[in-house]
């Protein structure tokens, strides 16, 4: 353990030093960038720069507008939900938009936020309201709409999923990258092909298995399905990563007489921390807004994604059908995920390149 801690500290120190070096390099680069810009100023370059920035701004607009709309929908009181003084809730589901509608009988009539007269994708601060959130978090008339319980249930799924996926796929990935054994090729092929069968057909069987063992509405059992589903892909990622890590360290350890387990725990695991982090983040994020699988097997005790989908995916006549609530809840869950994704950008790029290029 002591050795391991030492190795970890060493590794961390090295990482910090490398980062500092990188920062320094960038600083120099940036300085030279401005210097070059001023020195080699030409009209042609100026025009190119303007075009580039105009293009970028246009792209930003395309990216930002729908997101702004999502945000303003979540925080605007559009009269869809009114909390009365006596504590009751009034749902205003009338169509406030008097404009002519094209009613297509074929098209599943889905409610649109537009029906509430909400138009601006620039937030209207005078209409700022937390009514939607109040409704989302307090509506528990039916147990299958209890957002808080669903949140903690999903948290459980995500946590267990993270632990198991990281453990299993790392072990398998190490085995596939570091050891030779009989049937390795066959096992790799099996991992690869099994996950290509359309998942819905499997879901019917999973439902059958769950009913046989009485596992419906059991979040632990749900997690195991996620784990089994996530292992193949992540195994390939770990394998791809580990192949690029020099073998000299573990070979040296083996010569020193370290056992298989010692090599695994003290050498390989510290080396693989970045990729394990990448897998952990992905595994923690994935269950939050998954819909199809939990909607089938977690009817009574839904996860967050199932509840949110109920607010938007139902029929028009349904009382709780209210896309504004969906927007609010989706934002609530999506923002942390977004932040982590942005923060982990580098690892994600790294995971993508290892996972993608090396198979």
């Amino acid at each position: 353990m002591k050795n391991f801690m030492h190795a970890l500290k060493e590794w961390w120190k090295k990482r910090r030093l490398a980062k500092a070096e990188l920062r320094q390099e960038k600083r120099i680069q940036r300085r030279s960038f401005w210097r070059n810009l001023v020195r080699r100023f030409t009209v042609r370059k100026m025009i190119m720069a303007i075009i580039t920035y105009l293009y970028l701004l246009l792209c930003v607009a395309i990216v930002i507008v729908p997101i702004m709309w999502l945000v303003s929908a979540a925080f605007t009181n559009v009269g869809a939900i009114i909390f009365n003084a006596d504590g009751s809730v009034t749902y205003n589901l009338t169509n406030q938009n008097a404009l002519t509608e094209v009613v297509d009988t074929y098209l599943g009539a889905q409610r649109s936020i537009g029906e509430y007269g909400l138009f601006p994708f620039v937030p209207d601060l005078s209409k700022f309201s937390l009514n939607t959130y109040q409704f989302l978090l307090t509506y528990d008339a039916e147990p299958s709409f209890d957002f808080f319980k669903a949140f903690f249930r999903t948290l459980g799924v995500a946590t267990l999923n993270t632990i198991l996926v990281v453990t299993f796929s790392s072990l398998t990935g190490f085995a596939f990258s570091r050891y030779r054994f009989k049937g390795k090729k066959g096992a790799l092929l099996t991992l690869l092909t099994l996950q290509m069968f359309p998942a819905f057909m499997g879901m019917i069987a999973i439902l059958g298995i769950f009913e046989t063992f009485g596992w419906r509405d059991n979040w632990v059992a749900l997690t195991f399905i996620y784990v089994a589903g996530a292992i193949p892909y992540n195994t390939f990622i770990v394998r791809g990563y580990m192949r690029n890590v020099s073998k000299s360290l573990d070979e040296a350890a083996a010569i020193d007489g370290a056992s298989n387990l010692q090599i695994l725990v003290k050498v390989i695991v510290p080396l693989a921390v970045p990729i394990m982090g990448f897998i952990a983040v992905n595994a923690f994020m994935s269950p939050w807004l998954d819909y199809i699988l939990p909607s089938i097997i977690m009817n009574g005790k839904p996860t967050v994604g199932v509840i949110l989908y109920k607010y938007i995916g139902g029929t028009v006549s349904s009382l709780v059908n209210n896309p504004v609530v969906f927007m609010a809840g989706a934002l609530l869950i999506a923002v942390p995920i977004m932040l982590v994704q942005i923060y982990m950008q580098k690892y994600i790029v790294f995971g993508l390149t290892t996972g993608g290029e090396k198979g």
Binding site: P66, T193, M196, F200, I333
Partner: protein, 926 residues
């Protein structure tokens, strides 16, 4: 050209060879290795007789060979494991009871002694004597069991489930008076016994007051065993005991059978009397009474006036406090089937026929009419026998091309019927598309002969018989699991259908706690759970088989090792050796167990489903699923090629979508990456962060948001257009879209100021374009990140060399950057292609898999495989169509969905495995 063709041929040959090498040949060589090992072992027998014997011992009892090898530490685990498996099998089985049960068919013997329920009861149809089930013929006058009493050992009904009718039941006051049942009959408790309505029943306070029933009606009639026996009313008809049938009014029914029919008036009766003019005349009964003609008086009959009012009791009289009512005339109602002399056949009356002024208005029911059994539902659909000279749906109002539900009648499945000896059973219902033959006279046979439904999707049910299914009744977890997988069940039932028997018991569907005293086999087989269990058992058995082979091989090799070295390996060394040399297996093991259970089992299940007849129309567990081989695959080409046309159209759209979605994302991603990395841009990280936002938001949120934005019901897109330019702009945009060929022409009011329907049926080109664009919005950041990553890996000396050669920045991009990126990311494009091929989320969440009707031609609606709503939506790609087929409540064509799944799997799997095989590093052993 010639060259190209031969190149293509070579390539295809290479692909085929590769596939062969990695599938058939791989399996073949795997088994060859096992067989070779076995042969070697047997050959070595003479050389190593002891080792061979050790292996043989372990083959019979795991652990025995190890014990003989003096390796107790191996012997014990193997043996314990063996015991465990054995215990599971035995504990879940009923083997121990099998012998006595099969030999004796034990029944509660107290029933046989005097006073018992079956004392001197006749052996009836269905009773089992020494393993033989008595048939209707056996208890006829010349049958083998005629007039025999039941004896101990007979297998028959027991008292707590069935009523034994006694003399009081069939007496005038009993429940079964004038029923077809007799004393000594056994009827099922809770069954509706035929009940003849009395005057009080239809009185104002009676249960049948103002109902459609009249005095003498029999509410519902259940055919009894007697009815189907010789001399019975339904002897040698198609009816079986337990059938519920519409009741035919006979001549007897029309006779007054009321309690007071032709009863003389007696002293004490109160009679209703209407005063006539004679009564008021001089000498009349009411002379000078002040009454008028037509007045009603009630007279109590006494000895003095009985002569004046002698005669039969009539309606209006009061007897013992009960007012006698006039029998109402029993008019025909719509739904009745009557004999029409004009067509010399039966016809079913419609509401128009009995309306005021129509030919059957207030026409009384007559003998020979067929009336509804329960007075509410119409009688079963007219069968061909009833409309002998017409098509099945002739004059029904249905038109060609419609799909209608059809329920098989007894006639249909009996000899001479259209479904005689087909897989179908009586009461099965399915959808029949009506073709021109059905609505024309005399052509029905042709239609049925060519029916594809019959074989491919047939609901086959072995009729419960007197056979004993040993593993079904007695098997343990393993044997019963394998039995279930092979047969998918053998005993079906219909709810409340007394004709479903097995070994003397009526088959029930669900077991409630009150039914726990039934034996285990009374429950009907549930094919789906048998399939699930069977697959679980199969996988577990395979894992156990590997252990078993390991056990035998260990016993053999350990002895051989001992003979070579003269030393017995001690436990510590053994553990050490296993840990060291099998370490990789050990750390991989948990993963593979998990995958075996949560991926392999579902996979096998779905794979097998494709070869079964499982659809929602097989009402499990009343009916059974069947193995039907490749019939499901034949469905892809069935229906005059309509199914294949669907498949082809969906496949083409899937390919277009997959390629377009992947390429657009790749190209835009590359542009973004190159622009951000260009020397003009400062704050690269900020720009990149903004641009990866669409990818960072969970896709469920994004897709549902876009669905809302492009809603035809005032989504953001429509509102933005509306607020900027109002109706004019809407029309203008529609015009532009129209000139691009994207906007619908047929739609009424398409060019008015109505909102644009982005995901419409007619405008499907617009919707499809939008799908690709929205997918681009979500998907480009992935490639942007990926390409940014590989841009940084371009060695800078390449650019420096280019600078020395005087290359422009455009040239550098063209000749260095892009080739580098392409080389580095080609495998990812192909992975993305397969991902998009199965990109269920984009289609399902964006369009909801609607419009449900699929219109490739100008007009008309289609259904696939004869099932409504099963046709793909205009936006469906293969995977979302499979979802519709398997998951949509009204469809649930599990087997067809599995067939398409296998097709998708083959295409995607072979494509991507072949693709990976070209990536050298994937297979490199290091």
């Amino acid at each position: 050209m010639q060259n190209n063709i031969s190149k293509l041929g070579q390539f295809l040959l290479k692909v085929l060879k590769w596939i062969y090498n990695h599938t058939i040949y791989a399996v073949y060589s795997f088994f060859r290795k096992i067989v070779q090992g076995l042969i070697r072992m047997v050959k070595d027998w003479k050389a190593n007789p002891v080792a061979f014997r050790r292996g043989l011992r372990s083959f019979f009892i795991p652990g025995w060979g190890q014990y003989k090898n003096n390796q107790w530490y191996k012997a014990i685990p193997f043996f314990v494991f063996f015991l465990l498996v054995l215990t599971v099998e035995l504990a879940t089985s009923r083997y121990l009871k099998a012998f006595t049960e099969i030999k004796n068919y034990p029944i509660v013997t107290q029933d046989m002694i005097e006073g018992g329920a079956f004392y001197q009861a006749y052996r009836t149809q269905g009773t089992i004597v020494n393993g033989y089930m008595i048939t209707a013929e056996d208890i006829e006058a010349e049958g083998d069991y005629f007039g025999e009493y039941r004896q101990a050992g007979d297998f028959a009904f027991v008292d707590n489930i069935f009523n034994l009718l006694d003399a009081t039941d069939v007496s005038a006051t009993g429940d079964f008076y004038q029923s077809p049942y007799q004393a000594g009959d056994v009827t099922k408790k809770g069954d509706l016994s035929p009940y003849m309505l009395t005057a009080s029943d239809i009185g104002t306070s009676g249960d049948y007051y103002q109902s459609l029933f009249e005095i003498g009606d029999v509410g519902i009639y259940i055919v009894s065993n007697q009815d189907v026996a010789a001399n019975g009313a339904y002897f040698e008809t198609y009816r079986k005991a337990g059938d519920r049938i519409a009741y035919v009014v006979t001549a007897q029914d029309l006779l007054p059978v009321g309690a007071y029919f032709e009863t003389n008036r007696a002293i004490g009766n109160i009679i209703k009397y209407i005063i006539t003019s004679e009564d008021l005349a001089v000498g009349g009964l009411y002379e000078g009474s002040g009454k008028a003609v037509g007045d009603i008086v009630y007279e109590t009959l006494t000895a003095g006036n009985i002569d004046d009012y002698s005669g039969y009791l009539i309606a209006g009289d009061v007897v013992g406090g009960t007012l006698l009512l006039a029998p109402q005339v029993d008019y025909r109602i719509s739904g009745d089937i009557v004999w029409d002399t004009n067509i010399n056949g039966y016809r079913q009356l419609s509401s128009a026929n009995v309306a005021n002024g129509a030919s059957y208005y207030q026409s009384p029911r007559q003998a020979g009419d067929i009336i509804s059994a329960d007075g509410i539902n119409k009688p079963v659909l007219m069968t061909q026998a009833l409309v002998a000279d017409q098509g099945l749906f002739f004059g029904s109002g249905y038109s060609q091309g419609m799909t209608v539900p059809y329920t098989l009648t007894v006639e249909d499945v009996s000899e001479g019927g259209n479904y005689y000896q087909s897989f179908y059973a009586r009461n099965d219902s399915f959808y029949v598309p009506i073709d021109e033959f059905d609505i024309l006279p005399n052509q029905i046979d042709i239609k049925i002969e060519e029916g594809v439904y019959r074989r491919a999707l047939g609901v086959h049910a072995d009729n419960a018989s007197d056979r004993i299914y040993f593993f079904r009744d007695y098997g343990g977890w393993f044997t019963k699991g394998i039995w279930g997988l092979i047969t998918l069940g053998q005993i079906p039932t219909k709810v409340n259908d007394q004709s479903s028997w097995y070994r003397g018991w009526p088959i029930i569907v669900f077991r409630s706690s009150s039914q726990m005293d039934y034996p285990a086999w009374v429950e009907a087989d549930n094919s789906t759970s048998l399939l699930t269990n069977g697959v679980i058992v199969l996988v577990v058995t395979l894992i156990l088989l590997v252990l078993f082979i390991g056990n035998v091989s260990d016993a053999y090799h350990s002895q051989k090792l001992y003979e070579q070295t003269g030393k017995i390996e001690d436990p510590k060394k053994w553990v050490r050796r296993i840990w060291d040399s099998y370490f990789s297996y050990i750390i991989v093991l948990p993963t593979f167990l998990l995958i075996a259970f949560f991926t392999l089992i579902p996979f096998t299940f779905s794979f097998l489903t494709a070869f079964s007849s499982w659809t929602s129309r097989v009402s499990v567990p009343e009916s059974l699923i069947n193995w039907v081989g490749f019939s499901g695959f034949a469905q892809v080409f069935a229906g005059n090629g309509v199914n294949f046309k669907y498949f082809g159209n969906v496949f083409i759209w899937t390919m277009i979508f997959a390629i377009a979605a992947s390429l657009t994302c790749y190209i835009v991603g590359m542009i973004q990456a190159l622009v951000i990395q260009s020397k003009y841009v400062v704050a690269k990280k900020l720009w990149r962060t903004i641009f990866i936002l669409p990818w960072a938001i969970p896709s469920l949120v994004t897709l549902l948001m876009f669905r809302n934005i492009f809603s035809a019901y005032g989504g953001l897109a429509n509102q933005v257009i509306d607020s900027f330019g109002g109706t004019d702009l809407l029309i203008q945009i529609k015009g532009i879209l129209y000139s691009l060929g994207l906007y619908g022409q047929e739609q009424a009011g398409a060019f008015s100021g109505q909102y644009i329907q982005w995901f419409g049926l007619v405008n499907y080109k617009l919707g499809r374009l939008l799908i690709i664009v929205i997918n681009l919005w979500i998907g480009y950041p992935y490639f942007m990140l990926l390409i940014t990553g590989s841009l940084t890996s371009i060695p800078s000396d390449m650019y420096e060399a280019a600078d020395i050669d005087g290359a422009s920045s455009l040239q550098k991009t063209r000749f260095i950057t892009i080739p580098w990126i392409l080389r580095a990311t080609t495998p990812v494009i192909i992975t993305t292609l397969t991902h998009n091929f199965n990109n269920f989320g984009v289609i399902y969440f964006l369009t909801g898999s609607v419009p449900a009707t699929y219109t490739w031609t100008a007009a008309g609606t289609y259904t696939n495989i004869g099932v409504p709503n099963s046709a793909p939506s205009i936006y469906d790609i293969l995977i979302s169509w499979v979802y519709r087929l398997a998951m949509l409540t009204t469809v649930r064509e599990y087997n067809i969905a599995a067939v398409y799944s296998i097709i998708i799997f083959m295409m995607v799997g072979i494509f991507s495995v072949y693709n990976l095989s070209r990536v050298k590093s994937f297979w490199e052993e290091d």
